[in-house]
Symmetry: C2
Subunit: 196 residues, 2 copies
């Protein structure tokens, strides 16, 4: 177990060296200007090893430290205060989440700028974010007392997640987010079947 500990430590160290080298090079020269061969060299491993550690490929190197925010999404729905609708809770959570992360780490701004200016990264970030759609839909359904695969719940989950990207691309993101969630809130609340 001590020796297998060493093995796992080495594995983690290699992974970290790859992610660190990649992020440094990406921020220095831009995502598209750095090749995987160069990253592997900088971490002193082979290209094959790089892909063993990051099977999702080059894009995944960027998001290695991204925390999993699925739990926060679910909690925002199921532990929301009384009198707050589901869309209201999600809007609030997304607003707070954004400002919190921006204030937390100063380097985070440059990181976000790189993602915004690289189509491949925007696409991958969107896909990662939308992975939570199913879980969110189920949380919404459970909360509303509807079957877990009710189409409206999935639609609301999908639209709420996309609202973030949609608003982000605008000049006045906060206003846009409010406006979009107003639509969702009215639509959701008025079409919701009666609750117990």
């Amino acid at each position: 177990m001590t020796e297998s500990g060493r093995r796992e430590r080495k594995k983690a160290a290699t992974r970290q060296a790859l992610a660190d080298a990649a992020l440094r090079l990406f921020l220095e020269r831009g995502y598209d200007e750095v090749g995987v061969r160069e990253i592997a060299d900088a971490a002193d491993v082979s290209v094959t090893t790089l892909f063993k550690h990051f099977p999702d490929g080059k894009v995944a190197l960027v998001f290695d430290e991204e925390a999993d925010r699925e739990a926060e999404l679910i909690a925002a729905v199921s532990e929301r205060p009384a009198r707050q609708t589901v869309p209201q809770a999600l809007r609030r959570m997304m607003t707070e989440e954004r400002s919190r992360r921006i204030h937390a780490d100063p380097r985070f701004a440059g990181f976000l700028r790189m993602i915004d200016s690289t189509p491949a990264l925007r696409e991958y970030a969107r896909r990662m974010w939308l992975r939570h759609e199913q879980a969110l839909a189920e949380a919404i359904a459970a909360d509303a007392g509807l079957p877990p695969d009710e189409p409206g719940c999935q639609a609301l989950a999908h639209f709420a997640l996309e609202a973030a990207s949609l608003a982000h691309e605008r000049k006045a993101p906060q206003d846009a987010l409010d406006r979009i969630f107003d639509i969702l809130d009215n639509g959701w609340s008025r079409t919701l079947p009666e609750r117990s």
Copy 2:
């Protein structure tokens, strides 16, 4: 004009030969099992020529015959009958459009099945469909008497277009489409600023 006609005819013929060869091979063996070098060979041109005709790459070969449906979207909004809301008009248009195309061409089913089962093609189809978002948003804004970049209009356009994909992936697509558009309709109508 006759001579320039010949040139353009040849160009169109080459393009058609590429699209035909590609579609035939794709349907025979699957999109991922056919390489661009093979397609170019089958059409008796070089790979570079293939990319000259289809700058969007391999995926674009599949959608060569896809008609442009942007005009129909705009018309559905701006020429809708009185008393019909924008979301209602869009839902109706998408429903009719779907059944019309399925009944029109028997080979169409296999074509759709190939797209559904190939992630790269699903992604590209979605991107093509969403290209109409801006135009649709402007049509909605014009109809509602709002500024062309009003966030709610863009959101409605985006959500309405995505509703098609969202419903398509379900067991009961028609029911899902109705349910989703109910949400959008209620949300849109109830948050709409007063009209003249």
